[in-house]
């Protein structure tokens, strides 16, 4: 891709989940990071980019279940992972995402169902005969070997000749920016460097699928952000299929081509970051990804274009009828807190409530406002932080908050 093209793509595509509400203030980036921004484009969420992604199947799970004694960790999961895709398994701890990864690695054998890699059934193939490598959460760097020996381990096990081994180890060290540290002992490395060794050790084997088990969770926030972009870039450059496990929704949004939200051993929703953020398919996903106001509503009237919903105690909302199935009487709505528009004067808009600020919580870039709407309804709003200015919001202020019809998502209805 030429420089101008990538620059265009970078300029034309705003990050859909950006929290930077002021277009005039740009987040300062070191040059290299800016370069990433452009190189990372095209962003996965855009349809024309999605087309660029290969649709060839790399991994296929067919009704895969895993039961431990009485616990069902993975429950009849069907999933297709494309070649060269960055797929994230996202969920809270204990949801089965790690078991799913271990099934792919071969550390667990499915109780039922099939796992296919490039069409070959590998369900019963042991980990050492699968073209799959893993980056462990604890890194699992062998402490009795040097960095070089650690990286060469997989090649040695596969009987790669010494010369080629050395060349590939050097390449791998270069790839993860650890050139020159090959003779070090793992104990002499920082957490971030160990993480890179783990990555190099897995990548050097040229796996068909790279499995990553929360590899960034042990790093501090700054380093984690840098590594997120670096990993993503690396994945794009190498074209290797990545399956990434995390409980950190922000990490998942930043890095993934597609996200599988896992809940109770099942895939709750599978889609791109924007799909999952903007159109959560369930209350769980809406609540787990980002913040959400989940509101129970009763349908009052529905004229086929607009439906009027009651939130109880006189609060009413208008939503598009298209969101509701005919005959729906009750619905669970999800509204993102940053979609709430707050003003002192009453705006001439639909879906406007008069509210009192019950709590103002400073969150750095954003201000979190807890609003109490007349009638007892509680809403959470996120606004750009203006605490230092005169027109800042304060606890006890009376304000008006309005919600655009398009920003209301129906996650459940009956």
């Amino acid at each position: 891709m030429s420089a101008s093209e990538s620059a265009d793509a970078g300029a034309a595509v705003p990050r859909p989940y950006s929290t930077n509400l002021n277009p005039n203030v740009q987040t300062p980036h070191p040059d290299t990071q800016l370069e990433w921004e452009f190189r990372l484009a095209p962003l996965p969420a855009m349809p024309e980019c999605a087309a660029a992604l290969s649709k060839e199947t790399m991994v296929e799970l067919r009704g895969v279940s895993k039961r431990f004694a009485s616990v069902t960790a993975v429950d009849a999961v069907d999933l297709t992972i494309h070649k060269g895709e960055f797929l994230t398994l996202l969920g809270p701890s204990g949801c089965g995402k790690t078991t799913l990864l271990r099934l792919l690695a071969g550390f667990e054998i499915p109780t039922s169902g099939q796992i296919l890699i490039e069409g070959q059934d590998v369900s019963n193939i042991p980990p050492y005969r699968r073209d799959v490598n893993q980056v462990f959460q604890s890194y699992a760097i062998f402490p009795h070997l040097t960095v070089e020996e650690n990286i060469a381990f997989g090649l040695k096990m596969r009987h790669v000749p010494r010369e080629e081994r050395r060349r590939r180890v050097d390449e791998a060290l270069e790839l993860v920016s650890l050139a020159g540290l090959g003779k070090r002992r793992p104990q002499e490395l920082s957490g971030g460097q160990r993480q890179r060794v783990a990555l190099a050790r897995a990548l050097v084997c040229r796996p068909k699928v790279l499995l990553l088990d929360e590899p960034l969770s042990a790093l501090d926030a700054k380093l984690r952000q840098a590594m997120q972009l670096e990993l993503k870039q690396l994945q794009r450059r190498l074209g290797i299929t990545f399956v990434f496990v995390t409980h950190d929704q922000e990490e998942a949004l930043v890095m993934s081509d597609r996200i599988a939200v896992i809940h109770c051993g099942r895939i709750d929703q599978l889609g791109t970051a924007t799909e999952i953020y903007h159109s959560p398919a369930s209350a769980f996903t809406a609540d787990f990804i980002g913040e959400a106001n989940l509101l129970d509503a009763t349908v009052v009237s529905n004229n086929g274009v607009t439906a009027q919903l009651s939130l109880g105690d006189g609060a009413e909302l208008n939503v598009r009828s298209a969101l509701l199935r005919p005959g729906t009487t009750r619905a669970l709505l999800s509204i993102r807190p940053e979609k709430l528009y707050i003003a002192r004067a009453k705006p001439a808009k639909d879906n406007t409530f008069k509210a009192e600020i019950a709590e103002e919580i400073f969150r750095g870039a954003m201000d979190e406002l807890r609003l109490r709407v007349a009638g007892g309804l509680q809403l959470m709003a996120m606004v750009a932080n203006e605490s230092a200015h005169e027109h800042a919001w304060h606890k006890g202020d009376t304000v008006f908050c309005s919600i655009h019809t398009d920003d209301i998502v129906v996650v459940e209805q009956k």
């Binding site: 070191p30 290299t32 690695a105 071969g106 550390f107 042991p126 980990p127 050492y128 005969r129 799959v132 490598n133 893993q134 462990f136 959460q137 604890s138 699992a140 062998f142 402490p143 009795h144 381990f153 997989g154 096990m157 596969r158 920016s177 002992r185 104990q187 002499e188 490395l189 920082s190 971030g192 460097q193 890179r196 050790r201 897995a202 084997c205 501090d220 380093l223 840098a226 590594m227 972009l229 670096e230």
Partner: protein
């Protein structure tokens, strides 16, 4: 690519020194060591350069003959045999004890406690009683012999008692737990993801064992080897009972010097030589172990 990650934060600070409280807490043990290890060893050292009169009394006049006597082929032979038996014992204990220690260490906590308990139960019975039990098991008309004959695996009565084999068997039985325990400790500490990483990188179970599990449990192996080899070389009770005093080891010789032979200076010289050899061996093994651990 990206800027280099944060530089490694080196562990800082030297070793902690015990303060006043520390010394107070250590005092009982230090006094114990002083009274029952340092002082007797000093006596032993002094005695080893003394002579004895006809009645076996120690005479405090300097001589080096006690040490010269050790080089006598008779004693060197016994010494060599002791080394060989101890090495054999250690080898067998390692081969038998490693899988056991490893298995216990990798078991879920509940089963682990049970297995450890089972291993400790024999210690509740006097060591001498257990050795006598072996005698009754192994003797010509004993249980093992009868069983083997009944199964037609043996034509005549078993003739293992009072042979070197019986001695080694007794030594292995006595010291096996000292091999199992440190290996158990190492195996327990072994991070499961290390083994999984090895398998993940294409190592068959056998290669994962030789390339990763053994190197990572080496501290336990070293400790076990030391704990078995050192005491088994100086053991005299097992050799007396199960070897019928026909296959003396260095421990028997030393015990004899302080007992029947009434030659304390020579016994002391043997003891000091022994101690020096152990110290050397320990230093060597420990150094190697440290290197491995690094």
């Amino acid at each position: 690519m990206a800027a280099a990650p944060a530089p490694s934060d080196k562990a800082s600070g030297g070793k902690r020194r015990p303060g006043t409280t520390g010394w107070l807490l250590l005092a009982p043990m230090l006094l114990w060591l002083l009274a029952f290890v340092v002082v007797p060893t000093a006596f032993l050292f002094v005695y080893s350069f003394c002579q004895r009169d006809e009645l076996g009394q120690v005479v405090f006049s300097f001589t080096g003959t006690n040490y010269a006597r050790i080089l006598d082929p008779v004693y060197l032979g016994i010494f060599g045999r002791s080394l060989w038996y101890a090495a054999l014992t250690t080898g067998i204990c390692l081969v038998v004890g490693y899988p056991v220690g490893y298995y216990i260490g990798r078991s879920p906590p509940q089963r682990r406690s049970l297995l450890l308990l089972l291993m400790m139960i024999p210690f509740w019975i006097s060591f001498l009683l257990r050795t006598y039990a072996w005698l009754s098991l192994l003797k010509g008309e004993g249980l093992v012999s009868s069983l083997l004959q009944w199964m037609h695996l043996l034509a005549g009565p078993l003739e293992i008692l009072y042979t070197p084999e019986a001695v080694v068997l007794g030594l292995v039985y006595t010291y096996l737990p000292f091999m199992i325990l440190p290996i158990f400790t190492s195996a327990e500490k072994l991070d499961n993801s290390m083994i999984e990483a090895a398998l993940d990188l294409g190592a068959s179970p056998v290669r994962a064992f030789t390339q990763v599990i053994i190197p990572l449990t080496k501290p336990g192996i070293f400790a076990g080897v030391l704990l078995v080899f050192v005491p088994s070389i100086g053991m005299f009770a097992v050799t007396d009972l199960m070897g019928g005093a026909k296959v003396p080891m260095i421990g028997n010789v030393i015990q004899n010097q302080f007992g029947q032979a009434r030659d304390w200076p020579f016994g002391a010289a043997l003891g000091v030589t022994f101690l020096a050899l152990f110290a050397l061996a320990f230093w060597f093994l420990h150094d190697r172990g440290e290197e491995e651990a690094r």
